[in-house]
């Protein structure tokens, strides 16, 4: 039987506010335990939540970024469950009337093709604290610093069909929220966490199969692995004529498998009701228009512009528009050197390669965009060859100065002085009697191949600095 995989993702995104969603506590990551947990976060009796304006603003920015309907009157609800990292005994969330309604956004797959993915809704809620289960004499330690950090829960439609699409979706989402600067998107610190809903159905069927939910997967790589594993597990069950049980599972990265959570952890009866301590949030046109007017160019728009304005392919445009910082860098290089295709190539191959190898972010790149543009100019005006340019780039990376300074200091300027080149060409011809003989005896077709030997020798002699075009012309003149 051929199976089709159906995946929907729920992403919990921490919003980059400096204070919590319902209290004035700081949200800084990595602080000493419980030093950022106020009376409100601890659920002391009589404490009341007061909503953070920036959390609302960020949610609306996201909604506009995916072209969604903004909830003009959104309501907070209590989601009831008992767990010690949730001291109130309920999470303040949104149920019936979320702040962001249905929207769509475009993802780009590895092969450069695009797909439109539906977003069902996105709502505001508070994060819970953290439980630490080790080393407390059989007890659990609770850190409530994270409790009350604003979250935007983004729920996708079941539009994704495989692990690669799910990862592409997450990457596009990551790109969007960092463009909007509503989240730092730091997955290692839990700023973007993902629950995966996944089911299989016979290919061609429209009905949905029974799904399993995999909780709290925290990296692109683990999302991919967890999905691959879960597809295999469900397919095995179905092939054997069994039935998938609807349940919540955990992905164990060490064992590369998913396993069911204990039923106690998943008593799914949240008994939602409107939060009496908060009034409805009303959002008017003026507020929405002001935010819309201030939105930056978004990844998909930038991608399309790069294709049209610079003639880049979809794949290149996608890589270069991935982050605002990289896109800005690329555009500065283009402005400086005037050739978008070479700029795109240099930024993707040399620059990103070097950044990856040295685990450096584009923000901390030691070679500025203007400096790289200057280097490319020297290739374009034939001062240096592309090969020499890579050496110059290495030196620039090591802090040896601008392209011109490095070329000057290391004497790398391409030799275009016809006198000097002629001397080298003569030297090579004089030292290669048998090759010259072969060349002269050959027909036109074969000569084209044989001439490469002489060019190579001259380049070697000039330590790669001879102007190849001039060398070719000189050889054509001399080898007769």
């Amino acid at each position: 039987m051929q199976w089709e995989t159906v995946i929907g993702l729920e992403v919990h995104l921490q919003l980059a506010t400096c204070s919590k969603i319902f209290s004035g506590s700081a949200t800084t990551f990595g602080a000493e335990p419980n030093t950022q947990a106020s009376a409100v976060d601890l659920a002391m009796p009589g404490m009341l939540p007061v909503l953070n304006a920036k959390a609302v603003r960020y949610a609306v920015m996201f909604g506009l970024g995916i072209g969604a309907e903004i909830g003009r009157r959104s309501v907070f609800d209590r989601k009831n469950y008992f767990y010690p990292d949730l001291p109130k005994g309920y999470q303040i969330s949104q149920f019936e009337a979320p702040i962001v309604g249905r929207g769509t956004f475009e993802i780009q797959l590895e092969d450069g093709s695009t797909r439109s993915i539906g977003i069902t809704r996105a709502h505001l809620e508070e994060d819970a604290g953290k439980s630490l289960h080790e080393d407390f004499h059989g007890q659990t330690g609770i850190d409530l610093n994270r409790a009350g950090t604003p979250l935007l829960e983004i729920v996708s439609e079941p539009d994704l069909r495989n692990a690669a699409e799910a990862v592409a979706y997450l990457k596009a989402l990551h790109s969007l929220v960092t463009y909007l600067e509503i989240s730092d998107g730091n997955m290692a610190e839990g700023s973007m966490r993902c629950d995966i809903n996944i089911s299989l159905r016979p290919k061609g069927s429209d009905a949905l199969g029974t799904r399993a939910e995999i909780k709290n997967v925290n990296s692109f790589r683990f999302v991919e692995k967890a999905i691959r594993h879960e597809i295999e597990r469900q397919a095995d069950i179905l092939e054997d004529g069994g039935r998938v049980v609807q349940e919540t599972r955990l992905y164990d990265a060490d064992l590369d498998e998913t396993r069911p959570m204990r039923s106690k952890e998943v008593a799914n009866d949240y008994r939602y009701f409107p939060e009496p301590d908060l009034l409805p949030v009303v959002i008017d046109d003026e507020y929405i228009e002001a935010i819309a007017a201030g939105l930056p160019e978004l990844p998909a728009q930038k991608r399309h512009r790069f294709v049209e304005q610079y003639g880049l392919g979809n794949y290149d445009a996608n890589v270069l528009a991935d982050s605002r910082a990289l896109a800005n860098y690329f555009e500065t290089v283009v402005t400086r050197c005037g050739d978008a295709k070479i700029a795109a190539n240099w930024v993707q191959v040399e620059l990103l390669g070097q950044l990856n190898r040295s685990e450096t972010g584009i923000e901390d790149c030691p070679v500025s965009a203007v400096a790289l543009g200057g280097l490319i100019q020297r290739i374009l005006d034939n001062s240096i060859s592309g090969k020499i340019a890579k050496q110059v780039f290495e030196a620039m990376w090591q802090g040896e100065g601008s392209a011109d300074q490095v070329i000057e200091a290391r004497g790398l300027k391409q030799v275009s002085d016809s006198g000097a080149l002629e001397a080298m060409v003569d030297q090579v011809i004089a030292g290669s009697a048998s090759q010259v003989e072969q060349y002269l005896a050959a027909d036109e077709e074969r000569r084209k191949k044989l001439v490469g030997f002489f060019v190579g020798q001259v380049m070697k002699l000039s330590r790669g600095q001879a102007n190849p075009q001039m060398v070719n012309e000189l050889l054509a003149k001399k080898l007769v």
Binding site: Q36, L51, H133
Partner: protein
């Protein structure tokens, strides 16, 4: 643990005739979710009384609410928002002084999993 008071005398009991009776095991499940312990000999009584309450709910549900907007809050007002500023200081010491058990700045609670 909850113990029931004897029922108060009522002038008119809610009609329960049309109510779907709630099962005793459902009461047990709800009690577990709400972390309320009910003495075994009282479960029957609790079930009977909640069935009565459901009778009242049925009566409410009979009202035509087609043109009534759902009320999220009885106050006719909208939420005021606060500026995103850190206004709270670290008062961990004061809060932990009244906690039953703390260690390394963490609140200790009975073990929650495995």
């Amino acid at each position: 643990m909850i113990t029931l008071r004897p029922p108060l005398p009522r002038r008119q009991p809610f009609p329960v005739a049309n109510t779907m009776a709630i099962e005793q095991n459902e009461i047990e499940k709800i009690a577990e979710l709400a972390r309320i312990r009910i003495a075994p000999d009282q479960i029957g009584q609790v079930t009977a009384r909640i069935t009565e309450i459901l009778g009242m709910v049925d009566q409410l549900q009979a009202v035509d609410t087609t043109d009534v907007e759902p009320m999220a809050n009885p106050l006719d007002a909208i939420q005021r928002l606060r500026a995103d500023e850190v206004t709270e200081e670290n008062r961990r010491e004061a809060f932990q002084a009244i906690a039953p058990a703390v260690e390394n700045g963490l609140y200790l609670v009975p073990r929650v999993v495995e």
